[in-house]
Amino acid sequence: MKNKVKFTRMEQKMTQEQLARRVRVTRQTIGLIEKGEYNPTLQLCVAIAKVLGKTLDDLFWEVE
């Protein structure tokens, strides 16, 4: 699933490690989500969105 997690995280000058620690997953999981190789649960999507100060739409809604 395509998403804007990496773009938003880099925009906020946050590392994968920092984001991973704040949402209580491993850095590998964040890497997999950013590459679109793992579809996180809604619970994790919400946690990521809260940490990055965005809505689910901002991060995970695909726009053509």
Partner: protein
């Protein structure tokens, strides 16, 4: 966290947890297929079967399946991203395997000194040495796979 009584077997990380659940499910399906095959074999007496050995093989096979899938998945060392961290962890793998080798070989030798054992000392030492080798090989493969996977995911 999923509502299941096997929660105590599952890792904290979401990706690891869900992947492990898939491996457990695959192992359960394979076990079911093996049971069906064994029923057919025993019903038609195609091969003489020893019940205890068959059950032990099934138990070993199930554990081995989940273990091998976990090692090859490259998710064990999820935080090893850099060459430096990889080298440090590789040293730790060597230390862990060597410690296992020394402790178990020492314990077996001590047991042998204090009383007769059913197996010979050489056999005991070979089993513990094989255990140490298996520990080293599996940890090394898992580390290598994790590092390769993580390198592709780095910032």
């Amino acid at each position: 966290m999923e509502k299941t009584w096997i929660r105590f077997l599952l890792p904290e990380d979401e990706y690891k947890r869900r992947t492990m659940l898939v491996y457990f499910a695959e192992a359960a399906i394979l076990q079911l297929i093996a049971v069906i095959a064994l029923i057919v074999i025993s019903r038609f007496e195609l091969i003489p079967l020893d019940g205890v050995i068959v059950l032990m093989l099934m138990m070993f096979g199930t554990v081995a399946y989940v273990w091998i899938r976990y090692i090859l998945s490259g998710m064990e060392f999820a935080e090893i991203m850099t060459e430096k961290a990889y080298r440090r962890e590789r040293k730790l793998v060597v230390v862990k395997s060597s410690t296992y080798f020394l402790v178990f070989n020492g314990m077996i030798s001590l047991y042998y000194l204090f009383g007769p054992m059913e197996v010979s000392l050489v056999e005991g030492l070979m089993v513990s040495s094989l255990g140490a080798l298996l520990l080293f090989v599996t940890n090394f493969i898992s580390l290598r796979r994790s590092y390769q996977k993580n390198r592709e995911l780095i910032d």
